[in-house]
Symmetry: C2
DNA sequence: TAGATTGTTAATCGATTAACAATC
DNA sequence: TAGATTGTTAATCGATTAACAATC
């Protein structure tokens, strides 16, 4: 192992591409493809082969000259690097339409995550069952998150409530937040936040459209 | 006007930040904040003031030395640049849990988009009413999209179906696709695609977490 | 006026790409 | 072997930042 783990100075932008590679490799596995190459993978993803080789070289040597990469081996290596070769218990805060869709989504488990608790501020929703989970109140959130050792949470509450929710999550020990509320969160620097705001993505495209 | 419009060589990465600025400016408007500065805006967004000034300078001169930027003026200018000072009619394909959440989301209209039609392959869903829309079948999709002049679509179907749906959308005249299916779409180069896959975002964070 | 902040230039920094020896 | 493809180095490209004259 040449170099691995956070703090070892690998650029964030490289880390950000690994999940993309992982998804493509998983697809190849489904297609029973045994080997791939940086060229092949790059072509599927619209990324240069040089970049893929360079990215992977930060973590070790995973290929063979002449034959390329064993799909299943590379897949497992990247899963290990990203630490998704295990299941992260995850909390979902806010069970509106979106929170419900998240709670029901079947796509998390096969990729390293499992929703283990749901929270909502609305007393009318507390007690509702969604899948095999019961919606809990904000009052028990800290306790429950600590009890389950949850480090990852998804926030799907209105923008006005998001910062306060984030504060409470951080307080409870959450270190990674996926925020669906259209607002930037202020968190300590050892807490990671990623944002999903569909409108941002839409507005990135309209610039290029004909009126 | 110094420089504006697509094809004028402004880096994609700059365009990608404008919606972020827009969202922050909108928030300032809600707070009745009349003026801001590159420093102030940058602080809120975790971006350097130099970058904000540089980004804006691609499109014109919007500020005043000594006083900064009039929030409402800058907001309107960026809305105009991004072409979100109008409403783009939008189609949603796939009305599972996620499609339903999208269809019900109140956040599109104030930011330049309106869902005008819903489609699903499942005959059991066709005819369902969601909000004030009726779910239509794939058979009528092309016709309906052409009729309404829809250029923007959101895809929320299973990965297996996404490419075929995208092909049909492009055929019908769609030029911007927001894809929720966890798969890269192959489209002509004048068609824009943005991707939302929550798992990708989650996996970008687990790398940095303690086991 | 004095202080603040812009828009812009040049310097720096970092990421991507091209090229190729090594080797399967 | 001949062909293919890796991992790596150096070159290129592009984005970010620092600095400052202009000026409100």
């Amino acid at each position: 192992m040449v170099n691995e783990g956070p703090g070892s100075g690998i650029p964030d932008i490289v880390i950000g591409r690994l999940p993309i590679y992982l998804r493509a490799l998983n697809r190849m596995l489904q297609e029973d493809k045994e080997y791939t190459s940086s060229h092949d993978l790059g072509q599927r993803l619209g990324i240069s082969s040089a970049q893929i080789r360079k990215d992977l070289s930060h973590f070790g040597e995973f290929g063979k000259q002449g034959t390329g990469y064993n799909v299943s081996y590379l897949y497992e290596q990247i899963r290990h690097i990203l630490q998704v070769d295990r299941q992260w218990p995850m909390a979902v805060v806010g069970v509106g339409d979106l929170g419900r869709a998240i709670a029901n989504y079947r796509g998390f488990v096969p990729r390293g995550f499992r929703v283990v608790s749901l929270f909502d501020a609305d007393p009318a929703k507390v007690g509702d069952r969604i899948g095999d989970l019961t919606v809990l109140s904000f009052e028990v959130m800290t306790t429950e998150i600590k009890r389950q050792g949850v480090q990852v949470a998804m926030v799907a509450v209105p923008a006005e409530a998001a910062q306060q929710v984030a504060d409470q999550l951080v307080e409870a020990g959450v270190r990674a937040i996926l925020n669906y509320a259209p607002i930037m969160l202020a968190v300590p620097e050892d807490v990671h936040v990623q944002y999903i705001d569909p409108v941002i993505h839409l507005q990135r495209m309209t610039y290029y459209l004909k009126p």
